[in-house]
């Protein structure tokens, strides 16, 4: 038990330092990528300035969102240029050098809007630094659970059942964290809490499978049958993990995919450090739970001996 606890504390310390470093790197070193752009009438000095825009408008009502912008309207054969005061489906009012001019929407022929484009900062991307490592750990630990289950079926040794069960507990923990951070990211990026797209759907199925594993364990009383059923279930359940992981690369999906060279160095370094840190934390949690299981075994054995 001591060795499990010692390993857990070392991994906790390493994981804690690395995830803290990754957090600081993600928020104070890595930049914020742009997520589309924002149009404004004015230009200011900004790293987010993308350049001027010059857009043609074919109906007066489309000018409604451009109050304050530099506009040019051709109506009744005449051209009016100035700052747009207001526009709707009936008229367009423009502040020119000679005062306000109102043009009827019926006479409106064509118009232009001029302004500046700025990158729209995607703050929600900050969730990615930890959401992705946590999801990766859930796949990896699920893989370990399946591996220990295979070992159990081959050897029928109880220690593999315990290892598989503890691995599934760690998987459940990380699956829950992945779902929680993922739902918040989905709201930030897509504006909805959930979308039945391939990655989310297959991951949701994986979550249900992990929960079902524990339901199955709790519903079988006989220890050997329980271990065997759980082992078979976790091996079959694991089939969903690679499907969920690779599905975004196989069929059209809204879920982002990290591409080679797709991250700037500060982002990439923070992301890699977060991944290593999360692996250490996952390992620490596994060792803590294993230590706990071994202690419970010792308690059971001591109680049995005392009852004799």
């Amino acid at each position: 038990m001591k060795s499990h606890t010692t390993r857990a504390f070392i991994a906790l310390a390493i994981g804690g330092v690395l995830t803290l470093a990754a957090f600081l790197g993600a928020f104070f070193w890595a930049g914020v990528p742009d997520f589309g752009f924002v149009r404004t009438a004015e230009r200011t000095d900004s790293v987010r300035y993308q350049g001027p825009f010059d857009q043609e408008i074919d109906e007066a009502r489309y000018l409604a969102n451009f109050a304050g912008y530099d506009v040019e309207v051709v109506a009744g054969g005449e051209t009016v240029r100035g700052d747009l005061v207001e526009a709707d489906e009936t008229h367009v009012t423009i502040e020119t050098a000679d005062g306000e001019v109102t043009v009827s929407a019926a006479e409106f022929e064509t118009g232009r809007v001029r302004g500046s484009s700025y990158g729209r900062p995607d703050w929600g991307q900050k969730i990615f630094y930890f959401h992705v490592p946590v999801a990766e750990i859930s796949f990896i630990v699920f893989g370990f659970a399946a591996f220990y289950s295979i070992r159990f079926i081959m050897t029928r040794r109880r220690e593999y059942d315990i290892k598989a069960r503890v691995s599934m507990e760690v998987t459940l923990m990380f699956v829950t964290l992945t779902m929680a951070t993922g739902i918040l990211w989905t709201k930030a990026a897509w504006g909805v809490w959930w979308d039945w797209e391939p990655r989310l759907t297959t991951y949701f199925i994986m979550t249900l499978l992990v929960v079902a594993y524990f339901v199955l364990r709790n519903s079988v009383e006989d220890e050997e049958r329980r271990a065997m059923y759980a082992a078979v279930f976790s091996i079959l359940g694991f089939i969903d993990a690679p499907i969920s992981f690779f599905i975004t690369r196989l069929i059209p999906s809204n879920h982002p995919v990290i591409e080679r060279g797709g991250l700037e160095p500060p982002m990439l370094v923070s992301f890699i450090v977060a991944q290593i840190g999360m692996i250490a934390l996952g390992y620490a949690i596994y060792q803590l739970r294993m230590g706990e299981m071994l202690l419970q075994d010792r308690i059971e054995s001591a109680k049995t001996q005392l009852e004799r």
Binding site: T44, S46, A188
Partner: protein, 65 residues
């Protein structure tokens, strides 16, 4: 504090993402810390139980000897 009106307009369109980012990190760290905290507490309790039981076993084997 952003004072430039244009940047204010730019940022006002995206600041709604902040509570979601803060929420995601709060859930993540709270989840991990609480889980590890409970595991350590349980481990500590089990360690004490083992000490008591094994001491009792040792006493009994001492009495028998």
């Amino acid at each position: 504090m952003v004072t430039d009106p244009t940047l204010k307009e730019v940022y006002s369109l995206v600041l709604t993402q902040w509570p979601l980012v803060a929420g995601a990190y709060a859930l993540l760290w709270t989840g991990l810390v609480v889980y590890v905290g409970f595991a350590l507490k349980r481990l500590n309790g089990l360690g004490k139980q083992v000490e008591v039981l094994e001491a009792a076993l040792a006493r009994r084997s001492g009495d028998a000897g």
